[in-house]
Every structure is written in C-alpha cells, then in structure tokens.
Subunit: 343 residues, 2 copies
C-alpha cells in the first residue's frame, strides 16, 4: 500500500482538474495561474486556491510542445571523473534561478558511438541547447554543424572554428603562476608538467616562459614532461633537486604533480615555502587543502565557464548571435602556504 501510494498517489493532476474544482474553464484557469490580465480578481483567487489544494504542477512537456522551449540543456561530457564537469554543471544551473533550467548530464565515456546515441537522445528530448565538455583542453571533433539547437563547447574547444568554444586561458594561467613566484622573490624556477601532447601543458609552458622573459629570467633546466601523476611529480622533483640544488621554486603542471613535488621536498628535508616554493594548477579542493603545507594553485574558474555557456545558449534562442571561435577565460590565483609562509 505504501508502495502503491508512491506510484498512484498524486496521479498527475491536470489543469482540467483545477478548472473543475474552481468551477471555471481550463482557459480561464490557465490565464489565472499565469498572471494574464483577462481574469477577475476573485476568479483568479478561486483558481489559485484550487491549484494549491490539489498541489497542481503544470506539465512542462505540454508547455514545451506548444511553446517550442523546454528549459532544459544537455551536458555531454567525456570527463569520467567528473572533476571538471561538476563545477561546469553547477554554473549552468546557476545561470538562471534554481529549477528554471534543468540539465541532462550524459557521460559518453570517451566513446564516439555512445556520444552519438546520447546526442540523438538529447535532441529527441528537445533540449534548448547543448554544452559539450571535453576531458582535456585539446580541441575535439565538432558534434556537427547543422544541429537544430545552439551548441557551446566548454573546457575542450571544438576543432571547427565556426563553433563557439569557452575555455580556460592556460597561457594566462602559466603567466600568472610565474608572476606570483617572482613576486615572492623567487629567481631559480623549474617546471614539471604532464603529458606534452596536452594543449594545457604547452599553453602553460608558453605563459610561464613569457612571464620569465618579461622579468629577464630563464627557466632552470628543460621543461620536464611526462604524466599528470603524483608519482611523476615526486620523481621529477627528485631529479631536479639533484641536478640543480639551488632552485627556489617548482612550477607544477597540475595539483597532483605539485603534491608529488611537496612529498619529495619533504623527503629531502627542504622546507616549503622557505627553501622552495611550489605552485600547482586546477585548484582542486581535495588536493590543495590536504597537502603539507596547503598548496597555492591557479583556479580556472570553471563554474563561471558553465554559467557563461548556459547564458550564451539561451541568448542565442532569443535571437542573439551565438558567436564563433575560441574564447578564453582568465584564471584566478589562490595563494596558500606552499608559496607564502603563514604569518
């Protein structure tokens, strides 16, 4: 009986029910509930009361069918861990009031076939727009040019320059990180980063070198590329410290690599930040707040990215030009104990 309650209890209250209870036609009931002007005050009150009594919720499907808008967005991701997609989703939800826009989250698991299925399903659900999130910042294949809804690529840009892509500005991020290190008085800076095939790695290197050049400095040694893991952070830092014992800062390509660097510094008795400063990228909460000391990092502002994406989608529906090309968004420096000693 309890089980049945859940399934049959509310039993889909329709506007017709409300109208019957209030003793008016459905047309009037609709107008009353939507604040249209052609309804007398007392009639409106009767309808509103009836609606509340039945706890009526308008059927968005029917509305969408009629109006041609559903108030939904599809979020198509390949980011298995959910590390990047979650803030983007929250930003998209926030773009308008809570519950005004709802998000279909689909994980394609990096599979193109699966992505096609998901895409088709989303279109059949008549989403108002699509946000495509890649798992790395390299450009990815477009999901197609002539889709019936606006598409915004976030994090990973589309290969097609006619598409609109919103990405974190990794060059600026690299620059920002180095500028911070320099402002902390560091001069002998080395760089450990991840997979060189990632655009994110290359862009951050570029920004870092720019900032170093502007200050009349050079990187200590070569950029050390390998993988985005703590293990690599540990190993690379060990090599660095042996080869260049006088370095006073390690610029790390990700928070994980930075954690590895912190571990090695600790193992070798180097004090952070006094002897060596360490800085990471991503500002991944779990990583930066649990290390010893806490980790200074560059935050790519993903939530803002998600919010802009959703706003662009709905602006496009209102007739505004969607726009094309890759737009990058400025990062934010978050200072913690790994670069500045706590006072």
């Amino acid at each position: 009986m309890a089980g049945k309650d859940h399934v049959g209890g509310g039993k889909a209250v329709t506007l017709t029910d409300v109208a019957r209870i209030a003793g008016v036609s459905v047309a009037t009931a609709s107008k009353a509930l939507n604040g249209r002007s052609q309804v007398a005050a007392h009639t409106r009150a009767r309808v509103v009361q009836a609606a509340e009594q039945l706890s009526f919720v308008p059927n968005t499907l029917a509305q969408g069918l009629l109006v041609g808008r559903t108030g939904t967005v599809g979020l198509l991701t390949s980011d298995l861990q959910g590390r990047f997609v979650i803030p983007i989703l929250m930003g998209a939800e926030d773009a308008f009031g809570a519950g005004r826009v709802n998000v279909f989250l689909c994980d394609a698991r990096g599979d193109t076939i699966r992505e096609q299925h998901q895409l088709k399903a989303l279109l059949s659900r008549r989403v108002d727009g699509l946000i495509v999130v890649g798992s790395r910042t390299d450009s990815r294949p477009s999901v197609g040019r002539d889709l019936p809804v606006p598409v915004v690529y976030v994090y990973a840009p589309s290969e097609d320059p006619e598409d609109l892509s919103l990405v974190p500005d990794n060059v600026a991020a690299g620059r920002l990180a180095v500028e911070h290190l320099i402002s902390c008085g560091r001069r002998r800076i080395a760089h450990v980063t991840g997979d060189p095939s990632y655009a994110a790695a290359q862009d951050r290197v570029k920004g870092a070198l720019e900032a170093l050049g502007a200050a009349g400095l050079e990187l200590v040694g070569e950029v050390m590329y390998s993988e985005w893991s703590e293990r690599w952070g540990r190993d690379a830092s060990a090599v660095l410290l042996e080869r260049y014992p006088d370095i006073d800062a390690v610029l790390c390509g990700s928070d994980q690599i930075a954690r590895g660097a912190l571990d090695t510094a600790r193992d070798q008795g180097r004090k952070v930040p006094n002897d060596i400063a360490v800085i990471g990228f991503d500002n991944w909460d779990e990583m930066v707040t649990n290390s010893r000391p806490e980790l200074t990092s560059i935050d790519p502002n993903l939530q803002l990215l998600g919010r802009s994406a959703a706003q662009r989608v709905f602006a496009a529906l209102d007739g505004e030009e969607l726009g094309t090309g890759v737009h990058s968004q400025a990062p934010r420096l978050v200072i913690r104990g790994s670069t500045v000693a706590r006072q």
Copy 2:
C-alpha cells in the same frame, strides 16, 4: 550566418514531414517506424528511407505526453564534490541502454528550499522516477510520501521507513577490512576514523569490532574519532605510533585518513606494508593510486547502487511493488600495496 545555422538549421523535422515525403499518412508513418504489423513491407521501406533522408528524430515530449512515460529520471543530490553522485549517475545511465534513459542531475547544495524547487521542477518535467542522493550515509528527511512517482534513496537512507533506501553496507565494510588485515597476519590493529556523528563511522567501527571479536582479538587503544581529513590521519597516526609502538596495522575510516597515516609512517621510517599495514575506505581512485605505496581500500560499489536504483524505479512503473526499508549492498575489497607487498 553560422550562428543562424545552428539555431534554424535542423528546424524540427516532424512525423508529418516524413509522411508527406513518403506519400503516406502520419498514422502509417508512425506504424512503419515503430515496427507495427499493419504496414506492407515496401511501404515501410519508403517511410524508413524518408525518415533517414530527413534525419527525423521523434519528439520525445509528444510521446511522453501521450504515453505517460518520459524515460527520464531525476537525480537529486546534496553531494557538492560529486564524488559519490557521479558513479551513481553512471550506474543509473547504464541500467538500460545508452540514451534509453536520461538523467536530470540537480544539486540542491544542501539547501532545503532549493531542494523543494528542484523537486517541483523535476515533477513538472514528468520524470518517471526520482533518485535522492545524500552527502553522508546518515538518514535524511524524506522528500514526501505521496509523490506521483517512485522515489529511491541512495547512499543516505530516508528517515521514513516506508521509503526505499539503497545504501552501502558499512558494517560489512568494516568487517571485510579487518578480516583482510587478519588474513595478512596482523594482530595489533588500531582504528583512526572521522566525525563520530557520521553513521558511516559508527557502522564501520561496529563491523571492525565484530570481526576482531570473531578472531579473539581486541582493538589496540580506543577508536580515534575526529574529521575526515588527511591532516587528522597524520596526527592521529603519530599519536598512535608513539603510544603503541607495536601496532602492525592501521584501519582508516577513509582513503584520505589512510593517506595521512601513510605519510606519518613514512616520516617515522616505518615500512608499509612490512612494518605496518594501512587500509582505507571508499576506494577513491585519485587517492588510492597516487599514494606510496598504493592503498588497499574497501569499495562500496556505488555504480551498482545507481544501477539497482534505476532498475527499481522502472520496475515500479511496470506495476512491481517498489518496496520499503533500507537495503544495504555488500562492499568489495581491493587489495593494493599498502597491505600486501608487491612480489
């Protein structure tokens, strides 16, 4: 123009269009595409070809309106980090084919008002069912008894015993962890865990004590409660090692605490796993694979939980009893280098 393409390009192909191209009525077109029997083979072929030519996608809104099923599920969460909800979401997506069921992911951010809004929005979208995910395993308020759709609570059970809740079995998890340590020859086992107000903490303690008792052993010292952080893992382990230098295993309430314990062991020159074994809970990928050595952990099988939840929802729609009460799911032991030396 490019922007316009995206918005107006596909322009909503309807079944009417397909029927017109194929030279049949909409009724026949529908039957042809849905494999109904009342259509001649060559007619069906014409319709299918027309549909492909126009790349027709049926409007799920219209179908849902008519049939009363939308093939969507609402996932209402308070799990800000997305650590638990993502595997659950993936499980729910997998319960049926890719794209057969789509999931609305809503983050209530721990706010009750916001949750109410989201709930209302989901109901207005006529989701077929609801999956409610809590941020901790303690019981949480029911979202209501007489909702028009089946509701399944996952991870955090509902306070209302008439609701159906699917949760990880933390007692079994605690038992499993200790049994593993014992099978590795450990006898002097201590336990560091997180916030004692969390049901997860208490349940794991309970299971651990059961397993110890069954083996005729006792816990070394008191259970050390505080917070779910690496910092606490480090500090607590340091205290433990000083007070009970002969312990040979630390059972940690989470992977984060376990990482802290590993750090302390390393700082003090204790070899893991030879001198001391360390085990965690959650099997959180980023944590367990990046530590030194890699961390043995208990996996709560969240993806399976999400899958069962979705299956239950749709079974309930097919008239099956939804069921009530709290059902717990067996965990899985994942052995890594922190308890068993690599050969």
